[in-house]
């Protein structure tokens, strides 16, 4: 009798354990993988070679792209080239990062060395354009299975940087925070993706050091060849420049023309770290992307959008930039404020204005901001202050 009770209890226990076994849900849930024809209803707008092209756009604002948690623990760089430890020796402890970013100042105050911490960043906007290839000409049914693609992406984010007092004074100099910002900006000018480096005193001046901000903008992408797989639900994307391994994606062309892409077997899309899924929609004049398919000359303006009452801004006589933006005295869709921020790379908007769209360039607001060395000069401003 007792044994029977014991058996029952154990069986119940085992059943409970079996039921409880569970797995975490993916942060980025896989999208559909129904397949479909990528080039259905396509037109020749990109390559002008008589073969059809089609594009889709994605924006962070609509959470179209899902990326895994991006800020993973750092790799301990300083341990990479250490000699191996002896078997009886305690191995080196892992470490985080250097508080000072390896800041080295010359005696003139110029920055000799500085490493910016730039973790993987979320995608802001993107456009994927796929084009048919020569096979299409020999396949009148239009069942195109390979071709070329271009993925244009924009990553844009403001990052923080805190430098302690000892980092700044370690080499016998004490630059003011705005000057340090200018010096760092000069040093990082070679880095095409870093803009508007500015530093100011912390709120609590007693703690010393400088609090800095800078804008990271990566505009670029990749191109190469694509090919659908025999199962009809997966695409391989081959990249032409770095020749990295082909990235396999599950895809689905939905009834509304949108395209779902999911990295197959939990692999990243387009080999971009952390990028798992993209829900891409057909281009429109309000998607926040300068679409190639619509022939937009600015973001959501010009080209086909002109017919929808969205011409790009009025151009000044000597403007030559596409869309004539950044110097037209009005807020364009691709700007954060008036002729600043967004597409106006390196032009910082005045953060003191409540409505960002009404903000003008901070270096022209007629007062000395905390990161400026004088009124509208020094720091991140293009104008140097008079000595």
């Amino acid at each position: 009798m007792k044994t029977r009770h014991a058996a029952s209890a154990l069986l119940v226990s085992l059943a409970i354990v079996g039921l409880f076994g569970c797995k975490n849900e993916q942060l980025c849930k896989p999208l559909g993988a129904c397949g479909g024809s990528l080039l259905a209803n396509a037109t020749d707008f990109a390559k002008k070679d008589g073969l059809p092209d089609r594009s889709w756009t994605v924006t962070a604002a609509t959470e179209g792209a899902c990326q895994d948690q991006l800020q993973l623990p750092p790799t301990t760089v300083s341990l990479a080239r250490q000699p191996p430890s002896l078997s009886t020796q305690r191995p080196q402890d892992p470490a985080t990062a250097d508080w000072c970013g390896n800041l080295v100042l010359k005696s003139t105050g110029e920055v000799k060395e500085f490493i910016v911490y730039a973790p993987p960043l979320p995608l802001k906007v993107g456009e994927l354009t796929v084009s048919a290839d020569y096979d299409f000409a020999t396949n009148p049914t239009g069942a195109t299975t390979r071709g070329t693609y271009v993925l244009q992406t924009t990553i844009d984010q403001t990052r923080d940087l805190v430098l302690s007092e000892s980092c700044i004074t370690a080499q016998g100099l004490r630059l003011s925070c705005p000057t340090l910002g200018r010096r760092l900006g000069e040093f990082l000018a070679a880095e095409a993706n870093i803009y508007n480096m500015r530093c100011q005193d912390p709120d609590d001046k007693a703690q010393g050091g400088c609090v800095c901000k800078f804008d990271l903008s990566f505009i670029g992408g990749q191109s190469g060849r694509w090919a659908t797989q025999e199962n009809g639900t997966q695409i391989q994307f081959f990249e032409n420049v770095s020749y990295s391994p082909a990235a396999l994606a599950d895809y689905c062309v939905n009834g509304d023309g949108s395209l779902d892409l999911t990295g197959s077997n939990e692999t990243p899309l387009f080999n971009q770290k952390g990028l798992r899924t993209m829900h891409m929609t057909t281009p429109s004049c309000s998607d926040g992307v300068q679409s190639l398919e619509l022939g937009e000359t600015g973001i959501d303006c010009g080209g086909a959008c002109t017919a929808q009452g969205k011409p790009c801004g009025t151009c000044l006589p000597n403007d030559t930039a596409p869309g004539c933006a950044c110097r037209n005295g009005v807020h364009d869709d691709n700007e954060v404020g008036i002729d600043c921020g967004g597409a106006c790379l390196g032009v910082l908007c005045d953060p003191s204005v409540a409505d960002p769209k009404q903000a003008k360039p901070a270096c022209a607001n007629g007062r000395q901001d905390p990161w400026e060395e004088g009124v509208d000069c020094g720091g991140p401003c293009p104008t140097l202050c008079n000595p």
């Binding site: 014991a6 975490n24 991006l70 800020q71 990062a97 390896n102 979320p122 430098l163």
Partner: protein, 582 residues
């Protein structure tokens, strides 16, 4: 899914093996004589003539930090005890941990009388236990307290105790070892954060030996050694080394001397901080210490004094091995504990055998001094620092019980709150991801013959670090644990449930970690569990548990808003534990 099936098969195999052996034992038992008359005491013999076995630590623990449970004195029914029983209990207390509830008049215990003391020459060596396993089990009769198997040898009371068992668990991530404790959960999107993990371990099986010489006047002494198999795996790590060929680990090695003036412990024992081993541990199938629970052992010298009977007050102070060997000064701990021995309830510590414990309130503190190597490549000087902590503990029998044999409908609550800085080693496996920063590399040293500069700390990671101004900073932590255990009114409370909530958080770990390292830390961790225990026999217990650990990892930028946000991470664990105590 496949892993879940494998786990089920594993558990089934374990279960059938267990059932098979019980059935076999039953078959074998029939023709066997009821007891070995020459070696065991009759079931009705008064316990006064023997020293009942002490309550062994039954709380399992992690490899890095560990501890055990014990039972507090059940002086509540002291007036009902015979003089001999009281004497036995004193002897038990003298032996180390305090006893669980003891049925003094009916307690059977293996009694193996040594040969009569010889005048000269010295007596022969103590006899070896020759009783069969069956007779040992029967004779030990530890129906309601984990008192082990006790016999007399050369006038000494010798107690052997422990348990053998297995814990089988499945996690939704590959973040934890067998103990979840305070380890960081792996990020989603990584192989370890996305995939299941199944483990089975018998490494927590335990064996303890307690020896108490004859009392000398009013001075009682004892020595206690206790081991399990949680020794850290060798550097050449393999699953076989870690799981199957586990090494023996020292848990408790200490001597205890009780005098009318003061009591004295010397050796490795639970920390006084958090009143370890005094009945404040939660009832759970999880290995202690759980998230936010103080759980630590250290070599120490402790002085304590207990006064009172129905209401007892214990004051203790201890000097312990320093947190770093080059600390220069010992850690110092002190505490005061109040016990109301007439207010008792059912109490299980971790997944040990339930006993009876008295209402208790404890307050304790710790102070320590650091001398941390200066934050440069080859330091020759140190930076001083100070750590401290305060903890409060309670055990409240909400629905009292007076007998461990009849504990049905008993409800008890345990709680702990702790706060401190530079004391993360007091919590099992806690670093929160805090590391030392990397040294700058202004010379851009990258050549293998001139590698980048590395800081070599002289203290374990997670306790202190250096901030951006190279100042020594201690990590602040606050922990909280609440646990309820309710014994169903079934078969005298042989089926019971337990639920736990605990958490730990840091107020400064983010500010003392460079931004680039935020992805490797957590600021807050939250643990919940629910467990169903069944005492299948007096010695065999089975527990099934579901445990959830949730952490707030270091912040990252929200892709949609560009603002900082905490990154959540969760691990779900289902666990089955089967243990047989002796």
């Amino acid at each position: 899914m496949t892993t879940a099936r494998t786990l089920t098969i594993l558990t089934c195999v374990a279960a059938s093996a267990m059932l098979g052996s019980s059935a076999e034992a039953k078959k074998k038992k029939k023709p066997e004589p009821a007891a070995a008359p020459a070696t065991e005491a009759p079931a009705t013999e008064e316990a006064g003539s023997i020293a009942p076995g002490s309550a062994p630590d039954k709380s399992p623990d992690s490899a890095a930090s560990s501890g055990s449970s014990s039972e507090t004195s059940s002086a509540a029914d002291r007036s009902e005890k015979s003089e001999k029983a009281e004497k036995a209990e004193k002897a038990w207390e003298a032996a180390g941990d305090e006893p669980a509830h003891v049925e003094k008049t009916t307690k059977p215990a293996l009694k193996m009388e040594a040969p009569p003391p010889a005048e000269a020459p010295p007596p022969p060596p103590p006899p070896v236990v020759v009783a069969s396993a069956t007779s040992l089990r029967k004779a030990s009769g530890n129906a309601d307290s984990p008192e082990g198997v006790t016999w007399k040898a050369s006038g000494w009371d010798v107690t052997l105790y422990g348990y053998a068992g297995v814990n089988i668990m499945q996690d939704s991530t590959q973040s934890f070892g067998t103990a979840s404790s305070n380890t960081i959960i792996q990020h989603l999107g990584t192989p370890r954060g996305n995939n299941l993990q199944a483990q089975a371990t018998a490494r927590d099986s335990r064996i303890g030996l307690r020896l108490a010489p004859p009392q000398l006047g009013s001075v009682r002494a004892s020595v206690n050694i206790e081991t399990d198999f949680n020794a850290p795996p060798p550097i050449e790590y393999t699953e076989a080394n870690s799981v199957t060929n586990a090494g023996l680990r020292m848990r408790h090695y200490y001597m205890k001397v009780e005098t009318p003036v003061v009591d004295f412990i010397a050796g490795q024992y639970h920390d006084l901080f958090g009143w370890g081993g005094k009945g404040f541990y939660p009832s759970t199938l999880a290995f202690l210490g759980i998230t936010g629970e103080i759980y630590h052992r250290k070599p120490q010298v402790r002085l304590s004094k207990t006064v009172g009977s129905d209401v007892e007050l214990e004051v203790a102070v201890a000097a312990l091995a320093p947190v770093q060997k080059s600390g220069g000064y010992p850690d110092v701990e002190a505490g005061i504990r109040l016990g109301v021995n007439k207010w008792t309830g059912a109490r299980q510590q971790a997944y040990g055998q339930p006993g009876i414990g008295a209402l208790g309130i404890g307050v304790s503190g710790i102070g320590r001094h650091f001398e941390v190597a200066n934050f440069i490549e080859n330091p020759s000087t140190t930076v001083p620092g100070t750590g401290w902590g305060v903890a409060g503990n309670v055990f409240i029998p909400v629905i009292p019980a007076t007998s461990a044999k009849d504990r049905g409908n008993a409800l008890s609550l345990t709680g702990e709150y702790s706060i401190g800085t530079g004391i993360s080693d007091m919590y099992s496996d806690l670093t929160g991801g805090l590391l030392f920063p990397a040294l700058g590399n202004p010379m851009d040293r990258m050549d293998p013959t001139n590698p980048p500069p590395v800081y070599t700390p002289n203290i374990d990671s997670g306790i202190v670090t250096f901030d951006g101004d190279r100042r020594l900073r201690t990590a602040n932590w606050q922990g909280f644990v609440a646990n309820l255990q309710y014994y169903l009114p079934i078969a005298g409370g042989k089926v019971w449930i337990a639920a736990t909530h605990s958490e730990i958080k840091s107020t400064n770990i983010q500010s003392i970690t460079p931004m680039a390292g935020w992805g490797g830390i957590y600021t807050h961790s939250w643990y919940n569990d629910g467990t169903l225990f069944v005492a299948i026999t007096d010695q065999i217990q089975v527990g099934v548990a579901f445990q959830r650990t949730h952490q707030w990892l270091g912040p990252e930028f929200n892709p949609a808003t560009g603002l900082l946000r905490s990154v959540p991470a969760t691990n779900y664990r289902s666990e089955l534990g089967m243990h047989m105590f002796f």
